[in-house]
Symmetry: C2
Subunit: 240 residues, 2 copies
Amino acid sequence: MPRELIDLLWRDHPTAPRGGTRGPRSRVTTGAVVEAASALADAEGLAAVTVRRLGETLGISTMSVYTHVNSRDDLLVLMADAARAAMPLPDRTGGWRTRVRRVAEANLALLVEHPWLLEIDDDRTAFGPGTIAKYDHELRALDGLALDDVARDAALTFVLDFVHGAARARRAAPHAEEMPELWARWSAPLARYLGDAYPVAQRVGAAAGEAMNAPSSPAHAWEFGLARVLDALEAAAGGA
Amino acid sequence: MPRELIDLLWRDHPTAPRGGTRGPRSRVTTGAVVEAASALADAEGLAAVTVRRLGETLGISTMSVYTHVNSRDDLLVLMADAARAAMPLPDRTGGWRTRVRRVAEANLALLVEHPWLLEIDDDRTAFGPGTIAKYDHELRALDGLALDDVARDAALTFVLDFVHGAARARRAAPHAEEMPELWARWSAPLARYLGDAYPVAQRVGAAAGEAMNAPSSPAHAWEFGLARVLDALEAAAGGA
DNA sequence: GCTAACTCTGTACAGCGTACAACATAAGAT
DNA sequence: ATCTTATGTTGTACGCTGTACAGAGTTAGC
């Protein structure tokens, strides 16, 4: 399997190198490896995606995984692109505000469904068909705004960064289940250390913390922030 | 060294447990370990911060590191809090727009100086004195905006998420030095795969890519985005 | 049937975080 | 001055990681 990552990314394209026909039939395809890895990441987090685990779940040996994928890093790129390729692209009816809102919502849904995407930070994903198709589609959501190409790209980045931050806040933090116990053990010493210093932080932090536990809060913060983002875009384009 | 992380975070506080006086003198303090780790991360990235490397640079054995820090995860929390404690807090003169701009700029500077902060995602940092002091100070930058406590916290998060995204884009990507070679090897097959599909993505991507190489571009995108963020805050508060 | 191309596999290595037990050292108790 | 006890330091060892490499098994084309 000396196929390059770019050819693996485009493995479904008609002109992509298929690999010779000699030798034993593969018991598994690159796509199947990527799917299994993504399922594993969905279920147990990205750290559970080890080459050994992957071989096990696929019913092949550890090293056979490398027949279909060049390295774990490459696999992560393939996973990220596959997730974006499988993402339902929001429809294009309505005004730009509606369309951009749908883009934001679709991206939030994607990141909530696959939180491990937040941990994959590899520029090479930009070469994948899923990522490119997504980029193209989302750029078009900005049609109608008076933005040149560079500004259009910056505007999309602006929206997606906002979504990224919201998704990061929303997902269960890595050690979330231990937090109650941690709080029980630490709140007393923390109060002792703090005394009456930082009154603003203490008051606002308490309010924000309580609000966080209210079920409606993340949705409210999302609506609030998204409205701000849309307003900002409108202002940037000098009113659509 | 059975001191808990919270006590290590507050180790400079007068009432923090100092640890008994018996036994050999420590050859090294927790603070020194954190400093060495941060220097290592600045120079070679967070992945270079291994317990073995740390022991080496400190002139103690690998396992002695654990005398001063409970685990590598705890060390990352201490590093993050120390970086925030050492951050120069922007002064508080001027209107809220000026102050918030300074907050954003200070945070960008922090993340550019210590890009590894982007990789540390641990809720326990919120218990550290540096993080709390920073939070308090930054909340006060929003004084004068008509926001209740929950909204004030959300507004700060909004600003900091924007900075976070900008910093992520600005830092040298993990495999940045290999990108030119990668591009040379991949641009031809990519062009073949793409054909004339996704014209918008191709045009905008090319423009944005070229702009990225223009030295003025990141600064321009930053100014643009920051202005949008400030406008959004003003709108959120119903005009300051 | 032979050869070349291909998949699959087991072994092995260097690196990681860290549990644990043994030892060294210094202060407090006697 | 001696003993006790708390602490710092260290080496060894374990299980885990990604993956290089060599060899064995399998199939298509000559």
